[in-house]
């Protein structure tokens, strides 16, 4: 399982980077989405994958004796997903605006910022 996830993370990072290096704006966004999913998967993987119970100690017991699943990576991934949800929706709107204003989706044509004004 770990091995598969590691391969998957690598593929997501590589594919994301490849997409980001394309010149199309849409592919840029897809690349960003892939690479951030790769990062989420990496957190999940590095948080140790154990099948266990939620780490909630019963009122009567002193310590948690069972195998437990670490809840922190899940909380981190949830936060990261929520944040990337906001960022990606902003990115999509921005790309749409950029396509309307600049009238191209080729990143090489976006040179206005380098012109002397």
């Amino acid at each position: 399982m770990e091995f598969l996830l590691a391969i998957m993370t690598g593929i997501l990072y590589a594919a994301g980077l490849y997409m980001m290096l394309r010149r199309s704006l849409v592919k840029l966004i897809i690349g960003l989405i892939m690479i951030s999913n790769g990062a989420n998967l990496l957190i999940f993987l590095l948080g140790r994958i154990t099948k266990g119970h939620p780490p909630i100690i019963k009122g009567s017991a002193e310590v948690f004796a069972d195998i437990y699943a670490d809840p922190v990576p899940q909380a981190l991934i949830l936060t990261a997903i929520v944040i990337s949800f906001g960022l990606q929706s902003f990115a999509i709107i921005l790309v749409k605006r950029a396509y309307k204003v600049v009238k191209t989706d080729d990143l090489d044509e976006m040179n206005t910022t380098d012109e002397e004004i």
Binding site: S36, T79, F90
Partner: protein
């Protein structure tokens, strides 16, 4: 109530942005609220600064969960100082933007987002948890995306695409670094990590995490090979937005670098050497970039990059004196860079252009204003006794002591380049004979503004100039402050003990 003082600057900005959202359409109310609110925020930050100065490092465990498990907020002297400076710059820019930004932009919730940005900045300075730092960075970049695209001009959108892509990439790299760090140490609390990381045997992976942090924060603080988003985007938004960006956004990256590399990854010779090389190249490339630009705000953008190099150099040499110099430069730079972008905003309002070829004769038309503007110009160059001069002494002395002659040369060369750039700006913008510019229709020129609006634009500049004059003439106290900060950073034990008592 006063035990919670640490969070008040933070909570106040959150309160401000929510209150401003309720007054969405009423921009006159928003203007007054934002200025008054920023002033109150400054009072809170001043109180926190005073408390930290007198009683030492303050901590709060959010939600009452104890240190390595919950999210900790820590205010040591560095954090408190930067929060104070953020509030100072925030007050100035709030007043400046209420006059200089056109109502059409203000109606899209400019002020609410602006206070959200300040919230993110203060949160990033105060947090003691590395993942929480990531969250604050995201808050900063989301609000800065909105601010940079507000208005939707062609150049702005294009600049935003570049800014956006590289900043998100930086965040993802930062997140990857956090993942590696959590996998290694199983903790996210920075004080806890400072204890755990030196004990880890897998040094290679620790080094990988460190390099990932360096790249992530390096993009954000615009160091040498990673700075290209900055000059492509910082001159596109209105000058008030550029002022808060130029003054504070890159400095958060520098703060994060300083925090991570003095607390968590300490004593790695390779890293220090990498930092020094980066610093030297940043100083060179930023300075030379500034030399060839013709747009005033692009010149300042390149100077931001150039001067980031001073701070990174101080961090790279890693002696107490060098870090004190870097901190002093950070304090000076926040005030002066914010001021410079506001000055470029006023010049834009006077002339309707920011191209230095088509400007001129400003000294003849506005002699008093020009004299006011000289002070931040000279502070930036570092003419003694103004504020840019003192930190360079510390940097140069410590580069002698540690025999980093490359840094010595780069510091002097970059100062020299800054001098040339500013002299060129001065002669082109202020002394050259005025160039006849075509009058722009529907453009609010400075001399057609009401007196209140003029004062709203001028007073922040006077205020920040006063602050940088204080930093220059009161250099003794600032030097003591930065030495104290450097002492705290070099001896991280007190930070750890403040977060986790009797560990």
């Amino acid at each position: 109530m006063m035990q919670q003082l640490l969070l008040y600057p933070l909570l106040w900005q959150l309160f401000m942005s929510i209150a401003l959202m309720f007054a969405w359409q009423h921009i006159n109310i928003q203007r007054v609220m934002s200025i008054v609110g920023s002033a109150v925020g400054l009072v809170f930050s001043g109180m926190l600064f005073y408390k930290v100065l007198v009683y030492g490092t303050q901590t709060i465990q959010a939600g009452g969960w104890e240190a390595p498990f919950g999210i900790t907020f820590v205010a040591d002297t560095l954090s408190a100082t930067l929060v104070l400076l953020t509030s100072i710059a925030g007050l100035a820019v709030s007043s400046f933007s209420s006059a200089s930004i056109i109502p059409a932009r203000l109606r899209f919730g400019y002020f609410a987002i602006f206070h959200f940005l300040l919230l993110g900045l203060i949160g990033a300075f105060l947090t003691g948890d590395i993942f929480n730092l990531y969250v604050w960075f995201e808050i900063i970049i989301i609000s800065s995306f909105v601010l940079i695209t507000l208005g939707g001009e062609k150049a702005q959108i294009e600049g935003a695409v570049k800014y956006f892509t590289l900043n998100i990439l930086a965040s993802i790299i930062f997140l990857t670094a956090i993942a590696v760090l959590y996998g290694l140490a199983g903790s996210l609390n920075m004080a806890d990590l400072a204890v755990l990381i030196p004990k880890i045997e897998n040094r290679g992976l620790v080094k990988v995490a460190a390099i990932l942090f360096l790249i992530g924060f390096g993009i954000k603080s615009a160091v040498f090979p990673l700075y290209f988003w900055l000059p492509a985007s910082y001159h596109t938004p209105p000058s008030a937005v550029a002022a808060i960006f130029g003054g504070l956004l890159t400095k958060v990256g520098v703060y994060a670098l300083i925090r991570v590399f003095t607390l968590i990854f300490v004593g790695d010779v390779l890293l220090d050497e990498i930092l020094i090389v980066i610093a030297v190249l940043t100083l060179f490339s930023g300075g030379i970039g500034a030399l060839v630009q013709k747009n005033m705000r692009k010149v300042f953008s390149y100077l931001i990059i150039c001067h980031i190099g001073f701070m990174i150099a101080g961090l790279g040499m890693f002696t107490e004196l060098a870090i004190a110099g870097a901190i002093f430069y950070l304090i000076h730079d926040i005030v002066v860079k914010t001021n410079l972008f506001m000055i470029s905003g006023i010049i834009y309002r006077i002339k309707g252009s920011n191209n230095i070829k088509s400007l001129g004769g400003l000294y003849k038309e506005y002699p008093k204003l020009s004299l006011l503007m000289t002070i931040p110009f000279f502070s930036l160059i570092g003419i003694p006794p103004l504020s840019g001069f003192w930190p360079k002494i510390s940097l140069i002395v410590s580069s002698f002591n540690t025999q980093n002659y490359l840094v010595l040369g780069a510091v002097i060369f970059a100062s020299f380049l800054t001098l040339i750039v500013m002299a060129k700006l001065w002669s082109e913008v202020f002394w050259k004979n005025p160039v006849d510019l075509p009058k722009r229709e529907h453009f609010l020129y400075f001399n057609k503004m009401t007196t209140t609006r003029k004062l709203q634009m001028l007073l922040p500049i006077v205020f920040l100039t006063g602050v940088s004059l204080y930093i220059g003439f009161g250099a003794e106290s600032i030097q003591q402050l930065s030495t104290r900060i450097a002492g705290e950073l070099m001896n991280s034990q007190q930070y750890i003990e403040a977060v986790m008592p009797k560990s």
